[in-house]
Amino acid sequence: LRLRSCLALGLAAIASLPGPALADGLTDLEAVLEEPVLSTATRTAETRAAAPATSTIITAEDLWRFGIRSLDEAINYLSLGMFTQDPLHAVEIGARGVLLSADYGNHVLLLVDGHALNEQWDGTAYFERGAAVPFELIDHIEVIVGPGSVLYGSNAMFGVIHIFTKRAKDYRGAHVVLDVQLPTAFKAGAGAGYEFKLFGVPAEITAQLEYYGQRGPAFTFGPQSYGIDAVTGRPKRFGATGPATGVWGGAPSQTYFSQVPAGYVRFIAGNFEVSLRSAMYRRGNPYVDVTNTFPFGYNDRDSFELDRWLSVDVKHRATLSPIVSLSSRAYGDTYDYQQRAVTYAAEDCLPGQLEGCQRHLIGVSRWLGAEERASFDWTKDGRFETQIGVEGRLRFVGSKDDITDRATGVVAGSLNAYQHYERALAIYGQQTARPLKWLALNAGARFDLDERFGSRISPRAAVVVNPWQSASIKAIYAEAFRAPTAYESFFTDPTIQLAPDHLKPEVTRSVEGIFEQRLGTHRVMAGVFRTFFSDMVSLTSLTDAEIAAAVAAGKLQPGTPFALQYRNVATIDSYGFEAAIDGSALRGRFRYGLNVTGAYVRRRPAPGAPLEQLPVAPSLFGNARISYELGGYLPTLALAGLAASARLADQGVSGAFQPVPYAPPQLQGRLTISGRAPLAKGLSYRLSGEISSSGRNPYVVGPNQAATPQQPSAELVPVVQYRCGLGLLYDLPF
C-alpha cells in the first residue's frame, strides 16, 4: 500500500510539474536534448535508453550546481546503484548492496578518457579526492552499474565509472579555482584550454593542475582498554610519549590529513590524442584499524600512506572506409604505494624490537600495453556493427616490507620481498544489431589470458525492446571478473600467512531487467537484478593439519599457532531493485531527480558455512535532488540529499560484540547556492552547507577489533556531521 501510495504520489507530482504540456513540440525537442549520450557500455556513442546497461550520466553542471567536490560525493548524491562509505581514510565503494571492505576500490573499474586508473599491484582505485583527477576538468561522468568485463577486462565487477574530461572548446581560456571546506580543507587549481592549428591540422590542448590539502577535524576516540603487550608483559604502549598504560584513545590532532597534488594534460592533433596524468596521494588515518592499516602509533604524523602515479596514453583513430574504422592505443603507467606505520609496542614488531618499530610497506607496479580495435559498420548506419579488439600488456609488480627497529634505526630485514614480470593478452568481440525499429540486440565476449591467474571468458548478452514511443525494456545477462592481485597472490609471512596455492579470478554473474519511460523531459525507470559472486578471495584460517604441513614444508615457522591464506572460498548472492525518476521543466531551469536501490545480500564465507549478512553495505540506499535557476545574475538554488539504511559494522560478524554494532540509518543533505558574481566578469561562486543525521559510520575503530571483557561493545568511526564550503572559479578567456 505504501509503495502504491508512493507511486501515485510520484505520478501526481510529475503531472503537476509546471511547464508546457507534454504534447508540446518544443518539449519533444527538449526531450531529445535532455537524453544523455554515453559511450562506456558498448564503446560506441548511443543514447542512454539504447545502451545495454543501467547507467547514470553526471554532468559538469550537476557537479557545480550541487556543490560536488569529489567523485564519492558525485556517486552518493547523484548516481544510481553505487554508493560509498567513508572510514576516514580512502572511501570504500560498493554497488547494489554489495561492498567489500578493504578492497582498495579494486572491484570497480575507474577510467579517465578510456585509460584505466586501477593499478596492477593491488588493483587500487580511489574514489574520493585520492582519485586525483582535476575536478574542474571533468566534462561528465558515466556510471555503469553491473558487470562490465566484456569490453574492459578485470576489475569491472560492480561496474565501470568513466570520467570524460573537457575538450578545449568547452574549457577555452584560463581558469583558476579556489575551493575551501571550512575549516579543514582547501583546493587550489589552475587550468586552460586552447585550440590551434598544427601544420594545418586542427589541434587542441587542455590542462589542469590542482592541489588539495586537508587536516582534521580532530575526533575524540576511546578510551579503549587494550591491556598487556604480549611480548613485554607490560601495558601496551600506543604513543611516543607518556607512560605505557595499555589504554588507547584521545583526540589525535596530527594524523587525519590528505595531500593530493594532481595534473592532467590532453593534447589532440587530427586523429592523434595524447593524455598525461601525474598525481600523488598522501594521507594519514586518525585511528588504529587492523583491516586497512597496520596498528599505527597514536597521533603519530610519521604514519601515513602514499600513492604516486604517472601515466601516458596515446590514441589514434582512422576511418578506413564507410564500413571499417580502426582505433589504436598504446599506454604506459608507473605506480607505487608506500605505507609507513610507526608502532611503539613490541608485540607489533619482530623479536627483539622492544621499543617498537617502523614498518615500511612498498608496492610497485609498472605496465605497458597496446590495444587495437576494429569496428565494422556493415550497413553504414550503426544497425549492424561488429567490434573486434585485441589488447596486450606487460607488467612489473614488486613489493617489500621493511621493519626498522625504532630504538636502533636498524632495518631488521625485508619481509615478503618479491618482483615479477607478467604478460597478459585479451581478445574481445561485440556484435550489435537493430534488425527491427523496436528491437536491438547486443552480444559479446572477452577472453583474458593472464600469466597470474590463467584465463577467463566474460560474456554479455542484451536485448532492448521499444514497445511504444519513448519506452524501452532491457534484459541483460553479463559476467565479469577481478584478477587476483599481486598483493593477494604473492604476500607471504612465515609467522602468520601462507602464499596462496593458485588463486583464480573472482567472478560475478548478473541478470537484470529494466523498464524506462520518457514523458517529455521527464523519465521514469525501474529495474530488478540478481547478482551472484563466486570464487571471492578471502583470508581463511588454516586447520592444524594444514599448519603442520606448511611447517614441514618450511613455509611457516615452527610453532606457528595460527595461520592464514588467501583462498577462493566465499560466495555472495544479491538481488533487489532499482528505480529512478528525473527530469526538468521551465526550459531546464527546474531540475529534479531521485534514485533508489534496495538489495537483499547474503554471503557464504566458505563452502558449508552458514549465510551471513554482508557488513558495511546498506540494504537500502537512495538520493534525491532538486534545483532551480533564478536566471541572470541571480543564483541557482540546489538541494541534494541521500539516505541509507542501518549498516552492519565491518567487524560486526567476526567481532562478537554485544550489541551487534550497526551504524544508524543515515540522512544527509546539502544546500548549494551558486551563480555568477555580478560585479566581476568571469567569476563564479558556490556556497554550500551540509548536515548529516548519523554520527557514526560502520567501521570499528581502535585496537579492540573484537569484544573483550573490558569492552564488550564496539566503537564506530565518527562522521563529519556539519560541513560548509565556498568555491570560486575565475574564467579568463584568451
Binding site: G25, L29, V37, G270, T319, P322, R383
Partner: protein, 232 residues
C-alpha cells in the same frame, strides 16, 4: 631482492649528488657548449621534421570525435528543428529535398552521409512535408549553391571532412539564397553553417549561426532559439 629499479633510482640520485666538481678549460667548455647547442638544434630540427611528417601525414578529415552526436540523434534533432523554420514550407514546395554533401575520398564523410540518409528515411515527414534525400560529393562552393537553387533544396547537410576554408566558401555562396544548412561537425557552425549539433557534458546541444540563418532566409522562432547556443 626488491625491485632493482627502486635501488637503481636511489643509486643514481646518490651518484649525481656526489659527482666531483671538476675545473674545465673554458675553450673546451665553449666548444662543448657550441657542440651541445648545435646538437640540440639538430635534434630540435629532427623532432620538428618528424612531428611535421607525422602530423602532416594525418588525414585532413575531421576526427571521428568531431562528429560527437550519434547520427540518429542528429537526425531526430534536425527533423524537429526544421519544423520551426517558418520559411521551409515555401522553400520546399510539395516535397522537401535534403541534399547530403560529402567530402571526396573521405571515408568518414561517406559514413556520416550514409547513416544520415538511412536515419532520415525513417522519418515520414519534415515540417509536415514528404521528403527525398540526395547525396552529392563536394566539388566547389559555387556549384553547390547553384545546385541548391536549381533543385530547390530545403535542407543542406554537410557531412564531415571539410576544411574551414571550404565551409566558409559554402556559407558565402549560400548567402542570399534560401536553404537551411546543417552540419554533423559542430565547429562548422562558427564558420557559417546555420545549424549544428554538439555534445557537452554528455548531452546533445543545438548550435545556431543566427546571422548566417538570416542570410539564407532561415527563420527560426525565438522559442526554439532559446534551446540553442546562438554563436553569431
Amino acid at each position: 631482492v626488491f625491485s632493482a629499479v627502486w635501488y637503481q633510482r636511489s643509486g643514481r640520485r646518490l651518484a649525481l649528488a656526489s659527482r666531483p666538481t671538476t675545473v674545465i678549460d673554458a675553450s673546451k667548455m665553449r666548444r662543448s657548449s657550441h657542440r651541445e647547442a648545435q646538437e640540440a638544434r639538430i635534434s630540435r630540427r629532427t623532432a620538428l621534421i618528424a612531428g611535421a611528417a607525422i602530423v602532416g601525414g594525418l588525414p585532413r578529415d575531421a576526427r571521428a570525435d568531431d562528429v560527437p552526436v550519434p547520427i540518429a540523434v542528429q537526425c531526430d534533432l534536425l527533423v524537429k528543428v526544421a519544423a520551426y523554420d517558418r520559411n521551409l514550407p515555401a522553400r520546399a514546395g510539395s516535397k522537401a529535398l535534403v541534399l547530403l554533401v560529402t567530402k571526396r575520398n573521405d571515408a568518414e564523410s561517406a559514413r556520416v552521409a550514409a547513416a544520415m540518409t538511412k536515419e532520415l528515411s525513417a522519418h515520414p515527414t519534415i515540417a509536415g512535408l514528404p521528403h527525398d534525400e540526395a547525396t552529392a560529393t563536394f566539388t566547389d562552393a559555387a556549384s553547390l549553391a547553384q545546385a541548391c537553387r536549381a533543385r530547390r533544396v530545403a535542407v543542406l547537410f554537410l557531412a564531415s571532412g571539410f576544411g574551414d576554408g571550404e565551409v566558409a566558401a559554402v556559407a558565402k555562396a549560400l548567402a542570399g539564397g534560401d536553404v537551411l544548412s546543417a552540419a554533423a561537425v559542430p565547429s562548422y557552425v562558427a564558420t557559417g553553417v546555420v545549424l549544428g549539433f554538439d555534445l557537452v557534458s554528455g548531452k546533445p546541444k543545438l548550435l545556431c549561426n543566427q546571422s548566417q540563418a538570416r542570410r539564407q532566409n532561415v527563420a527560426l522562432g525565438a522559442e526554439v532559439l532559446q534551446l540553442m547556443k546562438v554563436l553569431a
